[in-house]
């Protein structure tokens, strides 16, 4: 403690060690709680306005029997939360959505991890900066344009088929299928995974990898025993950043999935834009949120261990 060795004659009584740090000329004292509140207020005010208020509004809507617009009186009801029981096909859609989220996250994790590893281990300086900018490029393009450009590639006699026709016959087009949706989503969310893994991998000391090699570890062992465990925080935060928006996505499923592109995201969007049933849309959203939170709660042990490493 610095105040133990300090020869400064403090006016404070012994035991108020914290105050000594301010020195003998400390200004008028503001109580700790007041300072904390004042400093946090802008952030909380913004959060309230931008997040809590809209969420709370939607939460209230989810208990109403119809969209509260116009003159008709509204009533309180819990029936929208029974949607998964009343309309059984929603369970299938929810399952498909989770499977889609799983595959997208898994593919992003594998590609993103190795892309980040290649960036960290095989590039330096200018070259690395350029590659990082190229990776971020999808963020700079409009999402809609990005997804529609995939339809140009994937449709029958599209770009992919033209390439295929150089070597074979027929069509390998897979537009309007689940793989097409996953492809579009992977393209959109891969940069998050690359960046989070990159940040985790760049902090690993080269000497740690060299130490493992000197002890007899080949590349496979270095990868599974050293790199992946040490990059786990990056992989996990990348997975969260990918999985959550993916299972709520509606643009990619709708444009690239066509008829098979029914996901919870599109169903919810329909409730707001087509069916004008905001309460059902809201209740489905909150059910989805609950599912996501439940999944994270289940894996929270793993998350904590990852964050601590």
């Amino acid at each position: 403690m610095p105040n133990e060795a300090s020869p400064l004659p403090g006016p404070q009584s012994p035991g108020t060690g914290l105050h000594d740090l301010r020195g003998p000329h400390s200004p008028r004292k503001i109580p700790g709680w007041a300072a904390t509140t004042a400093l946090l207020l802008p952030a909380y005010a913004w959060l309230t306005l931008a997040v809590f208020l809209p969420l709370a509004t939607m939460f209230v809507f989810s208990f109403l029997n119809k969209t509260p617009m116009g003159q008709a009186p509204v009533e309180f009801t819990l029936r929208h939360y029974r949607a998964f029981i009343d309309q059984g096909y929603l369970v299938r859609i929810a399952w498909n959505t989770l499977v889609m989220g799983f595959w997208t996250t898994l593919i992003c994790a594998v590609l993103g991890f190795f892309a980040a590893l290649a960036l960290v281990r095989c590039t330096a300086g200018r070259q690395r900066e350029t590659l990082l900018v190229l990776i971020l490029l999808p963020f700079w393009t409009n999402g809609l344009v990005r997804v529609f450009s995939w339809t140009m590639v994937l449709r029958e006699n599209g770009f992919l088929d033209s390439l295929w026709h150089l070597v074979g016959d027929g069509s390998i087009s897979f537009l309007y299928s689940r793989p097409a949706i996953v492809l579009g989503l992977v393209h959109g969310y891969l940069p998050y995974m690359i960046l989070t893994c990159y940040i985790a991998l760049i902090t690993i000391d080269d000497a740690v990898i060299e130490a493992a090699q000197s002890l007899g570890a080949r590349w496979g062992t270095v990868l599974t025993r050293i790199l992946i465990p040490l990059a786990a925080p990056g992989l996990i935060s990348g997975a969260v950043l990918t999985f959550v928006p993916v299972i709520g996505s509606f643009m990619e499923p709708r444009i690239l999935g066509g008829k098979v592109g029914m996901t919870l995201g599109t169903v919810i969007e329909d409730q707001f834009t087509q069916a004008f049933n905001w309460p059902l849309g809201a209740s489905l959203s909150f059910t989805l949120l609950a599912v996501v939170l439940a999944i994270f709660a289940t894996f929270s042990g793993v998350l904590k261990r990852g964050a601590a490493a």
């Binding site: 060299e210 080949r218 040490l230």
Partner: protein, 347 residues
Amino acid sequence: MTEVHIRSIAKSFGPVPVLHDITTQFAPGSFTSLLGPSGSGKTTLLRIVAGFVTPDRGAVTIGTRDVTAVPVWGRNIGMMFQSYALFPHMSVARNIAFGLERRGIRGAEARALVDQALEMVRLTGFGARSPKELSGGQQQRVALARALVIKPSVLLLDEPLSALDRRLRQDMQVELLRIQRETGLTTIFVTHDQEEALTLSDRIAILDRGRIVQSGKPAEIYERPQTRFAAEFLGDSNFLTGTVEQGGVRLADGTLVQSAHPLPAPGAKATLAIRPEKLQVSTTAPNRLTARIVTVIYAGPVLSYLLETLDGTRLKLFQANRDGTILAQGATITLGWSPEHAIPVAE
């Protein structure tokens, strides 16, 4: 005990040559320091022995096996790094067991070896801790245990003590030397700290710009440096330059300095190196120079004086603080030394 041979090793990084045609050997059980300033190539040489760097030319032999084409993981080396390089996500015991697992040693046998290694570095009972909970010195001892437990053919140390504070470094030097003697491991130690090199090694190799300029026993290199660089890098030195004549070196001011060592042919230029602690205030010694004291540095047991002769040559004088008398700044004194201590060195 294993011998390490290095034959005609050369390495360039891009257009920059780092090592020129190095040939040397490390005797079984010896402790050799590679000493040199940064950029001298000492670390590159160590990394070539370890296998992290592939030489452009030449061969490395560990024992009887040519390992030039063998990757790092196949060389059976023990290595210590300046940054400790412990695996942060594993306990101390698992760090030490890592190399054993790679050799298929697991379970009770591995645990016994880990305990033995911990005992050797005096960290018994620390196995369950995480590296984060250890001090720098303790972490480095874990790193040493991890390197030794696999019974490597050769122990490679890449400035392992540089990150420790002075006191701890001295303790670790003693520890390292004890363990090296106990295990009899051929050890190659990279350092830029000359004191550390003198204390620890059986043999020192001084590197300068990619070449070994001199190698030998510490005392041999210190007492008989062959080049100006070696004399300057290992310890301090005074240099006197002149022309060889009458079995001595004639300085610019006309003084003839005697040397007991073989000099170049008469008429040639020669440089003599004289260690600052071998000079003394004397009017009777065979070699004498008059100089003025410019600066007095009091460092407790040792007094250092910076002096200047009439023609501007700068000299250093180290004196043991035997009776507490300090020579005055500005005083003019006569320095004397024995011809035995005037060592001719190549420029």
